[in-house]
Symmetry: C2
Subunit: 912 residues, 2 copies
């Protein structure tokens, strides 16, 4: 039997189905599926993707059987429609479209009205009774076909149209008459002859094969190839070709065309929502010349407009039944397109509808309630990253549009932290804190930020920088704080000295109001009204009662389902009791990373820290550390209280000490007089701490090894805090984490100190605290020798930020100078600092997990880099068998959802 | 049958042999072996290492059978000697010594004269006829035993001796009489009673068991434990105990004691060489009070001294026969100890003798000639690193000793580059070049060196720095150039401004003469005479004819044997034709790394390089590059000529561009006016190129990807040079290497450029050049994804310097601040920048080789880091199946020898 290359659909029966996506492509299988559902679909046929593969494998020849199969399918279409292809009296007209397995830009889109020629156009005039419509259709076909199939550029034909309008003193295409179009068609054809040397094909069959060939050729255009490379779509997937009967919504008063959503795509409300135009074609809706009318008579925005329900009640009734069936069948909100040709309803397309995050949440949760889908499907329907939309503060959309229309738009940067922020422009963190104390809102504007700016960032409503990328310090910290943030806005010229910023000729001064939209990257002059998201108002701000917020209840429900399904736990990266409390409200079940150094920057502490750094002997250093101890201890007590019953991983000091010292001579001068040491001594110490490559320098456990007294102090603060909190009745589960271990002996040396201090404190307090001691795995050597390290570590936590830097040999701070070239030239598909690079960094992680668990089967393994809040990375962590991910508080919900989705997509054999 | 714990030796027959090293320890098995050779060895027995293991496994108890076996062995000794242990008339006296498998400091050394007590000392007086000798022996025993076994500190007893001498107005111990010693013994015993609460044991058996116990206890001292940890000696190896009859060389005129070498340990000449003292004990030789006399009558240094050959001809004759048998048996030059007791010769020890590198070479080569050993054994006898001694320039030893005695010693630093250098102190590289042009020698003194200093380093005789370690820039470059170098000499206070250096109060000014010994790290004031090593004078300087230099001929012979045996090839890292020529003379069979950037620093080139960096557009950059092209091309032609017939790997530009720009405002000012650009532009560009972590920044292939025109120019220079050289008849084998690849797409993008330019140049010249294109593997990601990269690379070259930095997350430039703590605390056994860290970096290399070869079986794999010249790393490369190592020219011989030794130790299944 000959191989089947062509699949017919029509008259309530299709040879294909939605299960044949690989063979028929996305569009082809959806058309087949609708047909089988007895939904009226203009009949047609699909030429399979295998023909495409054959075509390229055989020097652009088709399989021998193809012509015959196409002819037979075409005959069936003719029979179904009662019209014939090329018939001058009752011509069948066709559309030809590409259709790969996945939607793919760069491929040929559509050729409409195929089959028209000098003779068949007469039939169309007759059948429609509208010569202008017929010639307009004809000229559109000739234009499209010439451009796409014959390679005559569309602009050349547009020039002819413009010329014509000029001659007749007209402005708009719609003002041209049937005669005008008729003559233009002739001119187009002459142009084709001149440009290509060939006549425009009059034979409809020749037209058809030309269009089919053009679809297959479009698989191999440079743009399509690049897209496939970037998206890892195999070359041999190929595309299908869909050939379908044309229907017309502009054949008089009983004709119409429209689009609809089965539920409200903005809110998710279960309400049939759509627009239509009577006596019009799809293109007219897009052209925006006529005002579309509502579909249903309920809830009209403009009561003056007639609805389709009122104007065309019969087709409306059919449409309602069809949309209900489609939603039930596809079990999702559908975005549908239809045409009514002379009273007869035709469905042209159905697909899952795009929707806002709010709608996605409501639809998913309500569909579970309706028993249309199960919880797992609901989870799979929500893109974890879209939760950001639910949590971010928002601008009033109308106010924003007005401001932009009023010329207040300043510049666009990278949308690094979603949400809206508005406040007075300030250029230094101290000023932001002063304003906050005075109850005033500010936006902190910096060239780039550093750890000293954190309190100012916290005090500001939002952060705006002129340098840095999506993973710059500003971006990371802002996302961690849930603050709106726009970074890398290169149009800004910031001058700290004068406290001003120049943007495209305009000058913003300190105190001027400015608004930033971290969801879009827009920077707008002036004050735009904002508010917290409703969920934040319920959850964090407690301004709305939970029972008054359906969206909050839906959110909570979805999250509880996610937790039922997920294998991975979700902890948080939190350095303060406040962050820990926030993260608990978002559902974090522990702290995966508490960075002790962030506590060091507070004004009253930094002095003692600097004293410690400047100490000449271990004894002096101990005295300075003794001043820090009670402060660190208080922090830890607060964190233990917030995390009552949940594990808390505390990392010992990590950054190089020079980060705590000032750098300019002036700052050194000031500090020296404050501390009562000589300028020279301070300067010298600052110089001696400078490093060629601080990222690879004297930091992490290397500090604790050269200065064991630091580790001692920190261990003491941890265990004294744990004992104090436990005395209050708090259930404390401390886990002490040693950073930047590369060799098991480093961990061994540091662990000895931790264990000794733990014993000492327990003996002093008479308490018994169970704790774990472990390490961060953030250097390749640690992962490669994980079998040795796991014999000394009770847990591993992958520090994927530094691990990515070392595995790639790539400094995050410097990559901005060349990574853009990498993205541009397609060398890297995605930013490895955003999503874990699976073949490289991921493989190193996998080796470490495997070796570590083999050596220590009860090893607890997690991840605490910024990747912990990235859905693709969470999936990787699930696949690699980790126990948990840890991320910033505002990404905890995202990680919980991503973990559940990963568990659904890739069920684990055994729960850990 | 009871387990055998005690092995007797004596009377020409031993129960053990040299094959039982694990059981009997080193000393025990050598004594057994000598006994079996019928060589007169004082009889005795060895208690096995298994007893030690048993002792620690069983709460410090001995095996039940031990006491009996010791008693029986002791009885055999008594029978052999005709004396009885504890016999007051004819007492047998014993020595007790430890003896592990490998010599180990921290273990108990020796207890002599065991068996003496108040009664047996009388027997010794009788037998020796010398009361003073007997009491002196007695007191020595009591002192040693009290200190080692009973824990009474030796100092307390020395105080008693000093007191006695004072009382009697004497100065030296030897002036004390028999009576004095007798009384002192009593005082010692009283002291023991007082200090330990116990009587000194009179019973010889009790003494013996005390001494045996002390040996086993000494296995577990902190010093021994630390030594084992550092040297990875397993705890359960244990130590043996050797109990042996005492013999005395001080029993009158027919007695003597001596040491000898079977060949000259300084020159290796086959000449029996030794010293003896008549009527003396071993200790007397060490004490240095009496002048030892020569053993043979030939070649006396002092003709006035009588030789043993003349004084004791019969024992001398026996000794000659014995040394010849020992050398023949052990097939190596022996270091022997003997004692003649009343005319009877006893051999106390034989072992392989320590020797200079010159002697080692001569002995090994001559022994092959004598058919005593084969070539493989000869190779195994030479420590590859010791070849440095053969190649390094030397100070006249007497002149140096005189200078030090005369107070000219200034300081000691790290011995970073072996050899002697002397010249005028200069503090900047330009001055060194000026002096060199004027025919004057200089020593370049810098705080630390940077790439701009290279020409000055080359012009100077030697390099001295106050900062940096064994792998600092100065050390690496100096070793590469074969220059003497002392680094990290922290006592120096260098002041560039005044052109002076202060050392411990003394001031050295520019132009003052200074001498550095890079073999020892010594820095000496003034001018010491030096000369090149003889091999360099033959090989490089051509000052001596090969036929006039036996040492050169031995060297060449050994190297040719090494090449026959080695599996690994040895290439060189060479950036200039001169280096390439030198490396060929040392036997390099190709270039493993030619760094193109070193060529950029030459005075006439740096201007064009800077112009290229400051270019604003690719076109400007191309214009600047066009100026560099002919210069690079000339370099490459020179290198291809020098490497005629051998492969040459040329690496495209690697360092970050800021390395080529000046840094201080003054330098920028100067350069700006030179180049005719504004100070501000230059300053701004220099600022914008600054990086937080340059090691992980915009360098390597990242430069070639952002600026493809650089790669284009370099590829063109390579292929034009190759074509030109080939036209001359040179056989060129270029291999183009792309550095710092982390992702296969980086290599793919760069390789496209290289292949395209190669095609263009070949088309232009009409030549056909076979070449390879490959990559450096110096980032963890490259090794981890080697399967992908090997599909695009024709060769891999491991850049182990950067790979070590990234795998460890360790900046070599910054590690000096904390790595010393690591060595001190035993966290790292060795410097990973010197020897490849096998469990970490080595494992990453192994993964890369395995994945790479699996994907591309004909992949050529080598290593070009500094490790290529380190013997342990060469062994690793052999084990990992690499094709070659590449190292600096002056280490090529070392690598060749190390490769041969690795092939001998670990034969490969299959030659590649």
């Amino acid at each position: 039997m000959a191989k089947k290359y062509v699949y017919f659909f029509g008259a309530g029966k299709a040879e294909g189905s939605s299960k044949m996506r690989n063979l028929l492509g996305g569009k082809g299988c959806d058309l087949a599926e609708m047909t089988n559902l007895k939904i009226p679909v203009p009949p047609g046929f699909t030429i399979t993707t295998e023909v495409c593969t054959f075509y390229y494998a055989n020097k652009k020849k088709y399989p021998r059987e193809l012509r015959d199969q196409v002819n037979r399918a075409l005959a069936k279409v003719e029979k179904t429609m009662g019209a014939r292809f090329g018939d001058p009296r009752n011509p069948l007209l066709l559309s030809v479209r590409s259709g790969a397995r996945v939607s793919m830009p760069g491929m040929m889109d559509t050729i409409l009205n195929l089959g028209l020629n000098e003779r068949t156009v007469q039939g169309l005039i007759e059948r429609s009774g509208d010569a202008r419509f017929a010639y307009d259709s004809y000229r559109r076909f000739v234009q499209m076909y010439s451009d796409v199939v014959l390679g005559v550029h569309r602009d050349l034909m547009e020039e002819l149209i413009t010329e014509r309008k000029k001659e007749k003193g007209l402005k708009l295409d719609i003002e041209l008459s049937a005669e005008d179009w008729k003559e233009l068609v002739e001119k187009f054809k002459a142009l084709v002859k001149k440009e290509s040397g060939n006549d425009f094909p009059e034979d409809p069959k020749k037209q058809l094969w030309g269009a089919i060939g053009a679809v297959f050729e479009s698989w191999d255009t440079p743009r399509a190839i690049t897209y496939r490379q970037l998206n890892k779509i195999p070359e041999d997937w190929g595309t299908a070709v869909n050939v379908q009967t044309m229907v017309f919504g502009n054949m008089g008063g009983e004709s119409a065309t429209g689009v609809a959503f089965t539920r409200d795509p903005a809110t998710g409300e279960k309400f049939f929502f759509g627009e239509f135009l009577p006596n019009a074609q799809g293109e007219d809706v897009v052209a925006g010349i006529r005002t579309p009318q509502p579909i249903g008579k309920e809830r009209k925005a403009d009561p003056g407009l007639l609805s389709m329900e009122e104007m065309l009640p019969k087709p409306y009734g059919e449409l309602v039944k069809i949309y209900q069936r489609l939603e039930k069948h596809f079990k999702d909100m559908q975005d549908i397109e239809f045409t009514i040709q002379q009273g007869r309803l035709w469905m042209l397309q159905t697909r899952s509808g795009k929707r806002t995050a709010f709608a996605a949440l409501r639809i998913a949760v309500e569909m579970v309630g309706e028993k249309l889908i199960d919880k797992r499907t609901a989870i799979s329907r929500i893109d974890p990253d879209s939760l950001n939309q639910l949590l971010a503060p928002v601008f009033d959309p109308q106010a924003k549009a007005q401001a932009i229309a009023g010329g207040k738009f300043l510049a666009k940067g990278l949308n690094a932290g979603p949400g809206a922020a508005c406040g007075m422009a300030v250029f230094n963190p101290e000023r932001a804190m002063e304003l906050a104390k005075a109850g005033k809102k500010s936006v902190l504007i910096r060239i780039e930020t550093s750890p000293e700016d954190i309190h100012g960032m916290n005090a500001a409503e939002g952060i705006l920088t002129s340098r840095g990328g999506m993973t710059s310090h500003a971006a990371l910290v802002a996302r961690g704080m849930g603050k709106p943030c726009v970074v890398g806005c290169t149009a800004l010229n910031i001058n700290y000295g004068s406290g001003t910023m120049e943007v495209n000729g305009r000058v913003i001064r300190e105190g001027d109001f400015i608004s930033i939209d971290g969801t879009t990257g827009e920077v707008i002059e002036g004050q735009l009204p904002t508010s917290s998201s409703e969920i934040i108002q319920v959850l964090i701000e407690k301004k709305i009662r939970p029972e008054d917020s359906p969206i909050y209840q839906q959110f909570v429900k979805l999250m509880s389902w996610a937790d039922e399904i997920a294998d991975l736990g979700v902890r948080t990266n939190a350095d303060t009791p406040r962050d820990a409390t926030t993260a608990r409200l978002f559902g974090a079940t522990g702290i995966g990373l508490c960075r002790t150094e962030h506590m060091f920057f507070e004004a009253e502490r930094i002095a003692a820290v600097r004293e410690m750094i400047l100490a000449d002997t271990p004894e002096e250093r101990r005295r300075a550390l003794a001043k820090i101890l009670p402060m660190q201890k208080m922090d830890f007590i607060g964190i233990f209280r917030a995390m009552d019953g949940y594990p808390v991983i505390i990392r010992t000091l990590d950054p190089p000490l020079h980060e705590f010292l000032p750098h300019t001579d002036q700052e050194i001068e000031e500090l020296a007089s404050q501390m009562g040491v000589s300028f020279n001594k301070l300067k010298e110490r600052a110089e001696s701490l400078k490093e060629a490559n601080p990222m690879l320098g004297h930091r992490g456990c290397r500090l604790g090894i050269s200065h064991p007294e630091i580790t001692e102090m920190q261990a003491r603060a941890i265990f004294e805090a744990a004992c104090d909190a436990a005395k209050e009745g708090v259930k404390v589960i401390p886990e002490v984490m040693i950073p930047l271990v590369g060799h098991v002996n480093e961990l061994r040396a540091q662990r000895e100190i931790v264990d000794r201090v733990a014993r000492e404190v327990m003996a002093e307090t008479g308490m018994k605290i169970r704790y774990l001691a472990g390490t961060m795995i953030e250097l390749p050597r640690a992962a490669i020798t994980a079998d040795q390290i796991a014999q000394v570590a009770q847990f591993f936590s992958y520090g994927t930020n530094d691990l990515t830097q070392t595995v790639f040999g790539l400094s995050r701070d410097d990559a901005g100078k060349f990574l853009p070239f990498y993205r541009e030239k397609g060398i890297l598909d995605s930013d490895p600092f955003v999503s874990i690079d699976r073949p490289g960094v991921g493989e190193v992680i996998r080796i470490g997990v495997e070796k570590g668990r083999r050596a220590n089967p009860i090893l607890e393994v997690g991840i605490c880099g910024e990747h912990g809040g990235d859905p693709s990375s969470v999936e990787f962590c699930h696949l690699t068998g980790l126990d948990y991910v840890s991320c910033s508080p505002y990404r905890v919900s995202i990680a919980r959802l991503a973990a559940a989705r990963a568990a659904i997509a890739y069920p684990r054999k055994k729960k850990r």
